[in-house]
Amino acid sequence: MRMILRSMARRRFRTALTVFGVAMGIFGFVAMGALAEKARIHTRNAYAYYGAYIWVASDQSFFGWGGRLPMSLQERIEAMDGVEYASPRVVGPLDLEDMVNPFGLSALIGLDLNPDRNQLIMYRVRKGTYPPEGSRGHILLGDMVARKYRKAVGDTIEVRHRPFIVCGILERTDTDPDHAAYVSVEDARELVGMESDRCSTFAVRPLRGQDPDELAARIDRDFQGVHSIPPSKVIEATEAAMAWFNAMVLAGTAVALLASCPSIVVVMVIASSERAREIATKMAIGARTRHVFMEFLAESVIIAVAAGALGTLLAYGATGAVNAYTAEKGAELFRVTPRLAVSALALSLLVGCVAGCYPAWRAARTDPVKVLRSV
């Protein structure tokens, strides 16, 4: 190994350039993978959040945005077979200027603060508490919202010219609650200008054993002007999104392979030509073809794995820097997960093996008689 490293050090500039070139390929893989990982985690966690309920909204709305439902619906839904409760929500943008924010919109969500009906109860509050039931003027911030507005528990935040006391900050959920601020339904109605007998959506909790799809179909059938989204639809949407993210990772893999393999092949083929006399000498003193093959293959693998580590580190740094920038705007775009880093190193190992085979085979086929005669 030490001899291989010293052999590489003889051509350190060329080796460094090759490592850098391959590192760029791995960088591309990790960056695209980090984007996909972030989206995948977001989607997976969104499923855990949204998949626990049937979401009932006006058929004129987009997932509760823009439509209004009468509060009288709550009693009628709760009277249905198989329903544990129907919890009203009021949804709107937290900051109207956010509507043009390319990094994501922060939502204002009015919730039923009854702990038994609070959809956020699945998450812990990192600091502070949930807004107390029946309270007004308190606000619970999602992790990204707290970072975006740089607010801590006890601070005051002005929402549409009305001050709210930050009573708590949610733990990081890596999905939609990170980008939302939660107040009571009553406060939310006032902020978005909604009548007191209206809400945006109902989160309907099915009783244990109740088929959510069947219940959603009944709700759609029994009530005009509403549209229900059962967990199965959430799964469908999740799987569709996952397919896109997997495609992104595959594209990243292809980019990495296309960018990396040729440069290793070229450099190692040149090296095998330049080192023909060295190879022939080694063969003369007893090296078998497999010794030469393995030596060249090992060199390719070392280049590729070093490049993999460098590319991963660069991508980690670059995505971290971009995240730090976009977090101030309310969103994080990348997530370099341990499995992504391991995948990058495994991919670089594969690149080294694949790209190293031909040059190694070529070197191992060196005819010592021809080479030694010509020197």
Binding site: R10, I285, G286, A287, V369
Partner: protein, 243 residues
């Protein structure tokens, strides 16, 4: 001139090399071939020094390649230490080179990024079962001591004189205690004083270690020290003279 199947051998048992009717052709183009060896016969004893001389193109280097198992004859019989070279596949020839043959090159062929010690230890790295690195270096140090280079262990080739480099080459050739050492113009790049030292070393391998040394050379001073001089003409041994 006819081939002379001369033999310095008095008994089959003492023969390290037995060559009978060796033929080797190389293609010059698709249709034209050149016959480098043309039915060569040669016997070499254990523990002697043979100088192989002859004009350019007479087949000296081709013979050395065959004796060194770097190449195989197209026709004829070649036994080295009782092993039929033609009957062995390529990997086994590498093993024969590793265990039974040492090469000394005209241009030394040391690996420039390795120290003298590492160059000498290199063949041991190809051995199986594996020899631990410390043992390899210990043996290499010993071999370098025998050629008088104990003070140059950690020098790279570009830090050594030509004579010193060739001594490193000789130490490398002897590290596996081979029975046959093949030297191709070993003094071709050296001045007369250094040449004499190198020839002394090669001769010492014969006298002190019982090696057989076959030297391709144009240097008359080497021929004077050799036990036998094989003169080649047109791909055959023309005369085999005992000195």
């Amino acid at each position: 001139m006819s081939s002379a199947p001369t033999s310095p051998i008095t008994s089959e048992r003492r023969r390290l090399v037995t060559a009978r009717g060796l033929t080797k052709e190389y293609p010059l183009s698709r249709t034209v071939k050149i016959r480098a060896l043309d039915g060569l016969d040669l016997d070499i004893d254990y523990g002697c020094m043979v100088a192989i001389m002859g004009p350019s193109g007479s087949g000296k280097s081709t013979l050395l390649n065959l004796l060194g198992c770097l190449d195989t004859p197209d026709d004829g019989e070649l036994l080295i230490d009782g092993i039929d070279v033609r009957a062995n596949p390529r990997p086994d020839l590498a093993d024969i080179r590793l265990r039974r043959i040492g090469f000394v090159f005209q241009r030394f062929n040391l690996l420039e990024h390795l120290t003298a010690l590492e160059n000498v230890a290199l063949p041991l790295g190809y051995s199986w079962p594996r020899i631990p690195p410390e043992e390899r270096l210990r043996r290499a140090e010993q071999a370098l001591g025998l050629v008088g280079l104990s003070h140059r262990l950690h020098h790279r080739p570009d830090q050594l004189s030509g004579g010193e480099q060739q001594r490193v080459g000789i130490a490398r050739a002897t590290i596996n205690n081979p029975k046959l050492i093949l030297a191709d113009e070993p003094t071709g790049e050296l001045d007369s004083v250094t040449s004499r030292q190198v020839v002394d070393l090669l001769h010492g391998l014969v006298v002190e270690q019982g090696c057989t040394v076959a030297v391709v050379t144009h240097d008359g001073s080497i021929a004077e020290r050799a036990d036998w001089v094989a003169r080649m003409v047109d791909g055959r041994v023309d005369t085999m003279t005992r000195r």
